[in-house]
Symmetry: C2
Subunit: 174 residues, 2 copies
Amino acid sequence: MAMSNSVEIPFSTTLLVRDTCLCLHAQRAARALARLFDDALRPAGLTNGQFSLMMSLNRPEPPPMGPVATLLAMDQTTLTAALKPLQRKGWVSVIENPKDRRGRLLVLTGEGKTVLARALPIWKETHAALDDRLPDGGATRLRQDLQAVSEMSGEASKPAARRAGRVTARVMAE
Amino acid sequence: MAMSNSVEIPFSTTLLVRDTCLCLHAQRAARALARLFDDALRPAGLTNGQFSLMMSLNRPEPPPMGPVATLLAMDQTTLTAALKPLQRKGWVSVIENPKDRRGRLLVLTGEGKTVLARALPIWKETHAALDDRLPDGGATRLRQDLQAVSEMSGEASKPAARRAGRVTARVMAE
DNA sequence: ACTAGAAAGATTGATATCAATATAAAATGG
DNA sequence: CCATTTTATATTGATATCAATCTTTCTAGT
């Protein structure tokens, strides 16, 4: 009798994973929304990620990189990479932190602010349209649920924490 | 009087965008969940995306690429790229479609099935743990909301449709 | 059958993402 | 104050993501 080499997973399992996996659902929604906003923001010269990043730099005091990476729930090395094109375009400057010479401060330039200001109404329109198409209160609920998931699967696996074996601080307090 | 070159966006607007943008929330949750599942699946040699992709290939009949890309809500060119490492590892074969010589069929190899079968219990555990940490019914609700968003912002902006100016067919009917 | 258009994928180039690792500076414990 | 550890960030290498574009093959209309 022949060696049964390949392990069969029932098709029903495939359907189960397809229908229930929160990770898959999140990746799909994230791709779809990214495309939606990328398309909308294209005339402004920004992607959804660049918009979010630059918007998060619009603060009274220029923030260091770590907190921004945490805010965006991205790896610090991803942030370093994401800043490169924005620096090239002159929209963000990365300066040395005088208080801590290991660190950098992220500064939105005047030109960066202009680009961001042009993108803002597009974001508003796009987001309002999206909001309208969701059932009443759907957006708020979804936001809360996403927040919960980010924090939950984030606490233990926040990029910074994973390297250091511990959890890091709060970010962008109002 | 000096030229007022830079456009100021109030900090309150930044906080508004940070707190309400569904796209940002989705990207963050997607990154956090991706890390969670990537970490869990690492011993099995798979990333969350590779797991989802390979699982979606576990069907009675090997599917063509288009429907798989649609199912995963990713661009067709992304799928082409994502298949490369899986082909190299011998877990997926890309064969010519005898019915349509433009097309390809994606086949999970025996070795691919074995890898996937080893990853399955990890997925189950990880997903169950995640489920437990969400409030009652939270997972189901979130799934439905994510689904709605994917379909909504997907219909008009499905990768295939964006190129062709129209919307494509249903996928992976049970 | 022919031809124009549509559809399926592949390729290229730019950016995004993270793991592993490296470097430099600050903090901490003697 | 010095040695160790920790923290902040950068670099490299692999994969993921999409826009723009190209080739091949199929389909429709004639």
